[in-house]
């Protein structure tokens, strides 16, 4: 699995919209027929998107960020017996990740077993930058992290947070593109808004009575 140590630099941002469109036409000239047709049909929207200012930032050490929300995607090789152990553990948990609730900065996370159970794909959406995020996990839920990740090769343990962060970064592959629908809301802000919404509904109910 290819690993990248840094977010790829965004190339050719100095081009004008017309130059970008021209480049797209050249690139898609030998694309499959479906792609060529899609380029022509989608040209008005594409032109608009290419004219928009950059909406992509980095999450610090590695990974992309959009607004307040970042992405982390790692492929971690399992130790012998590790895949079986983690699978059984996750099945027993049945989606109950109170430990992640306790961290409070996790928007979502998935555990996917790939390459015949030889690797774990872990992908998450989280608030802020890479290093504070890992430090947060190390401070708040070291045991839960150790229970998951002890099944992966070379894991140094969350009580060694600097080494754990290096280890994670070394297995991470930065996304080439990252989209977040509500990029200006952290997990905590969304939870607060949920309460505001509920309180407002109750208020309106009272006025309506």
């Amino acid at each position: 699995m290819a690993t990248q140590t840094a977010t790829p630099t965004r190339a050719k941002q100095s081009l004008t919209v017309d130059e970008k469109i021209q480049k797209m036409r050249e690139l898609y000239a030998d694309a499959p027929e479906i792609g060529k047709a899609a380029l022509e049909n989608g040209l008005p929207q594409l032109t608009e998107a290419l004219a928009a200012p950059s909406a992509q930032q980095t999450a610090g050490r590695i990974g992309l960020r959009q607004g307040k929300v970042s992405e982390l995607c790692v492929f971690l090789p399992f130790v012998e017996g590790g895949a079986k152990r983690l699978r059984a553990f996750l099945q027993l948990l049945e989606g109950n990740f109170r430990a992640a609730d306790a961290v409070g900065t996790v928007h979502d996370m998935r555990f996917v077993f790939v390459d015949n159970d030889t690797k774990l794909l872990f992908a998450t959406a989280y608030d802020g930058d890479f290093d504070p995020y890992i430090e947060d996990f190390a401070a708040k839920i070291p045991n839960a992290m150790d229970l998951w990740l002890c099944n992966c090769e070379g894991y140094p343990g969350m009580r060694n947070p600097a080494a754990a962060a290096d280890w994670i970064a070394s297995h991470q592959i930065a996304a080439e593109a990252w989209y977040v629908n509500s990029p200006n809301l952290t997990g905590a802000e969304t939870r607060r808004l949920e309460k505001v919404g509920k309180a407002l509904d109750e208020l309106l109910d009272k006025i309506g009575d």
């Binding site: 950059s54 553990f89 992640a100 979502d108 099944n151 894991y155 593109a177 989209y179 939870r191």
Partner: protein
């Protein structure tokens, strides 16, 4: 491939939790030392998690769901190196501007990751509701964008092709576990709440 079946969401008693704890102890008996220690230290929290009702549902045809939010994870080989290059340049030019995903209105997040020396694309997304409805939505609302993005995946039949769903399922890997921080909010509800929050603040400002 994980398969999930919906089940009761009521909390469980000690009688149901004990055998699970026993299973975990057996599983972690030959784990690395780090894991064995963690199991003992995490036991109080683990008991609470194992006693909770299930938090895992499925997204219909394939994939996991938690509350209102589902996951789709797919690994798609590129047909040619030129195809990988085409998509990379397109994504770099777009520079994070996915207004068409805004238009679909059910996408929480999505990422494009290039794997194995640019021979494969990993696509992961978090979205609202059920798998079939989600794919239908894309096909109806932004077919050209989908074809532009995925035409270089090996075997892509086209979003308008009736075979498209089977093709996606063939490349999707259901997550073994899936967590959502705010599982009860759809994209539309979150957007609405952001407006409500702003309006309430303005109201409070006026009162002050």
């Amino acid at each position: 491939m994980a398969t999930q079946t919906p089940s009761a969401t009521t909390p469980r008693g000690d009688a149901a939790v004990e055998p699970k704890i026993q299973t975990l102890r057996e599983l972690y008996a030959d784990a690395p030392q780090l894991g064995r220690d963690a199991l003992e230290k995490a036991m109080p929290n683990l008991k609470r998690e194992l006693a909770a009702g299930t938090g895992a549902q499925n997204a219909g045809r394939i994939g996991a769901r938690q509350g209102k939010v589902s996951e789709l994870t797919g690994i798609f080989p590129f047909a040619t190196p030129a195809g990988a290059n085409r998509l990379r340049v397109l994504l770099q030019f777009l520079d994070g501007n996915f207004k068409l995903a805004d238009a679909v209105g059910t996408v929480h997040d999505m990422r494009f990751v290039f794997l194995d020396n640019d021979t494969k694309l990993l696509f992961c997304t978090a979205y609202d509701g059920e798998w079939d409805a989600y794919i239908d939505d894309f096909a109806t609302k932004i077919p050209d964008a989908l074809d532009l993005l995925f035409c270089d995946a090996d075997g892509w039949p086209g979003i308008r092709n009736p075979k498209i769903k089977d093709w996606i399922v063939g490349h999707q890997i259901a997550a073994q576990a899936w967590y959502v921080g705010n599982p009860n909010l759809t994209v539309a509800e979150t957007r609405r709440l952001a407006k409500v929050g702003k309006a309430v603040e303005e109201l409070l400002d006026k009162i002050a």
